[in-house]
């Protein structure tokens, strides 16, 4: 994919900074809706919009989508609607979980903790992270994988004193996106779209998918630049 992200020599750290917050914002938009979440949602959406606006023309439709979301009234009245949708799409439903947000759900074997989960776990470990003992979610849960990307971006910023070290982290990010996240998020997004009745999660899933594609392209080009 042609990279339309406007990066300039010397400002990759800024872009990484923005990418960190983008991953974080997407994760926060995806947590289970609650009163606290409703009160923060506009802020996270604003964050995303600001970040995406700076990434060039390829993100225009994403910005438009965020504006559409922001036009809807997400308040305490609509909270229960979103909670119902979230629960049926992503947790449990009377018709099986409609769009389980786990990589293993989209692999050949129909169970969690499949090869994608094991791969994710090993990837975290190699990068120096463990699953928090406070969480008992699967290693390939969407929010865990998004958080991993956040952590890698943060690490990239910390390591960016030397370009070579940052490049290594970029390779890890690229690998994780192309081998782990992207393959299943695209499928997942279609399941969300097919079953979402409220529209919010369709848009969010689309945004997440597009963001991952953009970021993958960015990292691909960053990698090509480092070789050149």
């Amino acid at each position: 994919m042609q990279n339309d992200i406007s990066y300039r020599s010397g400002d990759s750290t800024e872009i990484t900074y923005l990418r960190t917050f983008a991953y974080r914002a997407f994760a926060h938009c995806f947590i289970y809706p609650s009163k606290a979440w409703i009160s923060e949602l506009q802020g996270w959406l604003n964050t995303l919009r600001s970040i995406l606006e700076d990434f060039g023309p390829s993100t225009e439709d994403m910005v438009k989508t965020i504006e559409e979301i922001q036009k809807e009234k997400y308040n305490l009245q609509t909270l229960q609607t979103l909670q119902i949708e979230y629960t049926r799409l992503f947790i449990n439903a009377t018709s099986s979980v409609l769009a389980p947000p786990y990589a293993s759900a989209y692999s050949e074997e129909r169970w969690f903790y499949g090869p994608p989960a094991i791969r994710a776990l090993y990837t975290y470990q190699k990068a120096g992270f463990a699953l928090s003992p406070k969480s008992r979610e699967m290693p390939d849960y969407l929010l865990v994988e998004l958080e991993f990307m956040t952590r890698l971006c943060k690490k990239e910023m910390e390591d960016s004193k030397s370009y070579g070290e940052a490049s290594d982290i970029c390779k890890k990010q690229h690998y994780f996106l192309t081998e782990q996240l992207m393959p299943w998020v695209s499928i997942w997004r279609k399941y969300v779209e097919a079953s979402d009745r409220a529209g919010f999660y369709t848009k969010l899933a689309m945004l997440i998918e597009k963001w991952l594609k953009i970021d993958t392209a960015y990292l691909t080009n960053t990698g090509e630049r480092s070789i050149a």
């Binding site: 900074y17 917050f21 018709s95 470990q125 190699k126 120096g128 008992r136």
Partner: protein
């Protein structure tokens, strides 16, 4: 170039937010230098399979905190290093995408199967609060008896029920093992002391089965033990209306008329006694009531039994003689053989099993039926003290106070009890691990449950029952628990199995913890055990075993006591002997001796076939149908019908047929066979889920329980069975091509 200051300006957060908000990760990952060195070796955790009550001990291999494979524990006298197909595939349950993950409540007040409850995820605090608040309201307004608990009779369940003061604990025993339990307790062990399932098949030289199909249910230990016995030259004789898996291994398969095993057994007992083939020494030393038994069975001649059972008199006599003169010999038994709970006379069949074994000296002797060997352990009540329980009223919603020998509840009468509001209205129910298809005529129970104000369900799966729930409490699997389990189903010597679970996934909880939380929230803290007392109790258990948890772990997860088998010379009855005329039955006004009882129903012109419900090796109750590999092996249940009957009805193998009783009608795949009586149709259990939440199980097969009538307590009392067994096979059906 965008600066960080500019970014913050544009971020547009609310005034109260700060950079710290933006810097907030969700906390799923933590930095860990240790984690950077992934484990190369698998660790072992020990546990006990919870798929069936056999409780095979397993070894779970764990990498980085996650179980990756299972093996049977070689040190376990039950598993002996093996797991059945269900146990082997049980990790699918732990990692099932359909599993209940978080507590949920319904937001749609309209309840029904297939009606979206519009669940929302809630916290445990809110979930427990909902249950506690509702229970308190109902107790205040209608009394504690207005709450019904549907759950297995584990000690913490009995404690919970007593703590809140309701008499209504509905256990599935009368649909499972009650007739065997009461027969065994009344004749051999004494009340509440020991289960009748440890049998030394391996060392038996003659195994007689009346509908027993342990190998056919893939009962791990028993399948191997029977095979080993056969390899050593034992003889296996099976009476069964259908050619079961056990029957297929037998030297003789006798397709007995269903419900008439009692006649054959009475005639066999008579033969053994009259021909003096019984073990005189064993009878004189260890039994009472022999003369009364002898007097009772005089009338039950083989010729009489032949007319009833379709088994030739000569064959009855020959087999009785073989059984009595081939030592050691044993009548095999377990749940869902002719001894229960299949027929109106099943309790008396269960009694006859014990009599036969006693006559040949096979009670607690090698090759016979064994009293469980258990370690001497302290009891929780010695460490954890509770105040007196509130006095519950005697009357139960299922009418079971009228059955003096068992208080475990009645799957067959509870629905009509709730609907009739007699002796009082019921307002709430709490379910643990039961599902609607576990009950006869589930539509009636569904109708009854819809009249309740509040239903809470604790389960691993979103079963069809959860679709009626107001609050759903997600339970951990047996991979996520901890403890020390006795060997119960086969305990030739004392043994305990360590249970070391992984931390519960998602936000699931063990039901014991949930119950204690409910009690706390109901301001019944005095009935919640003190943590220190529980720790002291746990410590005392290990001390009694002379070991520690660490030591058991390093010894392969199993503690083994003295293996030497010392046959008992005293038993647990009031007389300390095996009682042919149990005093327990006499005290409660029941005839202590077995006598002929006709089956409740017989095939007739309109319903020409008796329904035989049985189990297959690859499914267990309604628990395992969401495991893909098991469904791949066997995608749906079938109706086995005699091939010539199928021909008459123009039914070929694989055709779908309607099987209909006076209660209901189901569509199921036909399987014509030579291996069944012409007056029977056999359908295996474990299919027919209506809940789509179990995406693999849904839509597979049909539930044969929909053919079985439920009853009122008055109807049930007409049956002269002191155990209140449910009589699953007292159903006649007709079959037509679909």
């Amino acid at each position: 170039m965008i600066s960080r200051r500019d970014f913050l300006k544009f971020s547009g957060l609310l005034a109260s937010s700060s950079i710290l908000e933006l810097d907030r990760d969700l906390g799923f990952l933590v930095p860990s230098a240790e984690a950077a060195q992934p484990e190369k070796e698998e660790k072992k955790l020990y546990g006990v399979c919870g798929i069936c009550s056999m409780g095979c001990a397993y070894i779970a291999y764990v990498q980085n905190g996650w179980i990756v494979r299972l093996e049977g524990n070689p040190r376990d006298q039950i598993a002996e290093g093996k797991l059945c197909v269900k146990g082997r595939s049980s990790l699918n349950i732990l990692y099932d995408p359909d599993r209940l993950k978080y507590p949920m409540k319904r937001t749609n007040p309209k309840k029904g199967i297939g009606v979206d409850p519009k669940w929302v995820k809630i916290s445990w605090d809110e979930a427990i609060g909902m249950v506690a608040t509702k229970f308190k309201e109902i107790i205040a307004k209608d009394g504690p008896q207005a709450i019904v608990i549907f759950a297995r009779a584990k000690p913490h369940l009995k404690h919970f029920v007593k703590s809140i003061g309701t008499p209504n604990l509905i256990v599935h025993s009368n649909a499972c093992d009650v007739s065997h339990d009461i027969a065994w307790e009344s004749m051999v062990t004494g009340k509440g002391k020991g289960r009748p399932f440890t049998v030394d098949y391996e060392n038996s030289r003659y195994i007689l089965s009346f509908g027993w199909d342990g190998p056919g249910k893939s009962k791990n230990k028993w399948g191997r033990a029977v095979n080993n016995a056969l390899e050593k030259g034992a003889r296996l004789v099976v009476f069964d209306p259908r050619l079961s898996i056990t029957a297929s291994k037998a030297h003789e398969w006798i397709p007995i008329k269903p419900g008439t095993d009692l006649a054959v057994l009475l005639a066999m007992i008579r033969t053994i006694i009259i021909e003096n083939l019984f073990d005189h020494e064993f009878i004189s030393k260890y039994t009472i009531g022999f003369n009364e038994l002898k007097g009772r069975v005089q009338q039950y001649t083989p010729e009489w039994a032949e007319k009833i059972s379709d088994v030739p008199a000569g064959r009855i006599v020959r087999i009785a003689r073989e059984f009595a003169t081939t030592k050691p010999a044993v009548v095999a038994s377990h749940k869902r053989d002719a001894g229960g709970p299949l027929y109106s006379n099943s309790f008396r069949v269960a009694q006859c099993f014990i009599i036969m074994n006693t006559l040949v000296g096979s009670i607690d002797r090698p090759g016979g039926r064994i009293l469980d060997r258990k370690p001497k352990l302290p009891k929780e009540k010695d460490f954890v003290k509770y105040p007196e329980y509130p006095k519950a009223i005697k009357e139960r919603i299922d009418g079971m106070e009228r059955y003096p020998l068992t208080k475990k509840g009645n799957f067959f009468t509870v629905a009509q009890g709730i609907l009739s509001k007699k002796p009082y209205p019921v307002k709430a129910a709490l379910f643990w691990k039961y599902n609607l298809p576990s009950f006869p005529n589930r539509l009636r129970l569904e109708e009854a449950l819809k009249t309740l104000d509040f239903i809470a369900v604790s389960d691993i799966y979103p079963t069809e029952l959860t679709e009626l729930a107001d609050v759903v409490l997600p339970e951990g699997t047996f991979f996520e628990g901890k403890g020390l389990k006795e060997r119960k189903y086969h305990a030739m010597y004392p043994q305990m199995a360590l249970v070391e679970g992984i931390k519960p996934l998602y936000d699931t909880k063990g039901f014991k913890k949930v119950l204690y939380s409910i009690l706390k929230k109901m301001a019944l803290k005095e009935y919640v055990p003190d943590e220190e007392a529980l720790k002291a109790f746990s410590k005392a258990k290990f001390e009694a075993l002379g070991t520690t948890k660490k030591e058991i772990h390093s010894n392969g997860g199993i503690w083994t006591g003295d293996k030497e088998f010392k046959p008992k010379t005293e038993f647990g009855t009031p007389s300390k002997k095996i009682e042919f005329t149990p005093s327990l039955l006499k005290e409660k006004g029941f005839d202590p001796l077995p006598y002929w009882i006709e089956p409740k129903v017989m095939p007739n012109k309109e319903y020409p076939y008796r329904l035989i419900i049985y189990r297959t090796p690859w499914q267990r109750m309604m628990k395992t149908q969401n495991i893909p590999v098991l469904i791949e092996i066997y995608p749906e249940n079938t109706a086995t019908i005699y091939s010539k009957e199928a021909e008459k009805l123009n039914i070929k193998d694989g055709d779908y047929v309607w099987v209909e009783s006076t209660t209901g009608k189901i569509k199921v795949k036909a399987h014509p066979s030579e291996g069944i009586r012409s007056d029977c149709v056999a359908i295996d259990h474990s299919f027919g889920h209506r809940g789509k939440g179990m995406s693999v199980a849904f839509g597979k097969g049909s539930n044969e329980g929909d053919l079985v009538p439920d009853m009122t307590i008055e109807e049930m009392l007409k049956n002269p069975d002191p155990s209140a067994n449910v009589m699953w096979n007292e159903v006649v059906v007709k079959v037509s091509k679909a």
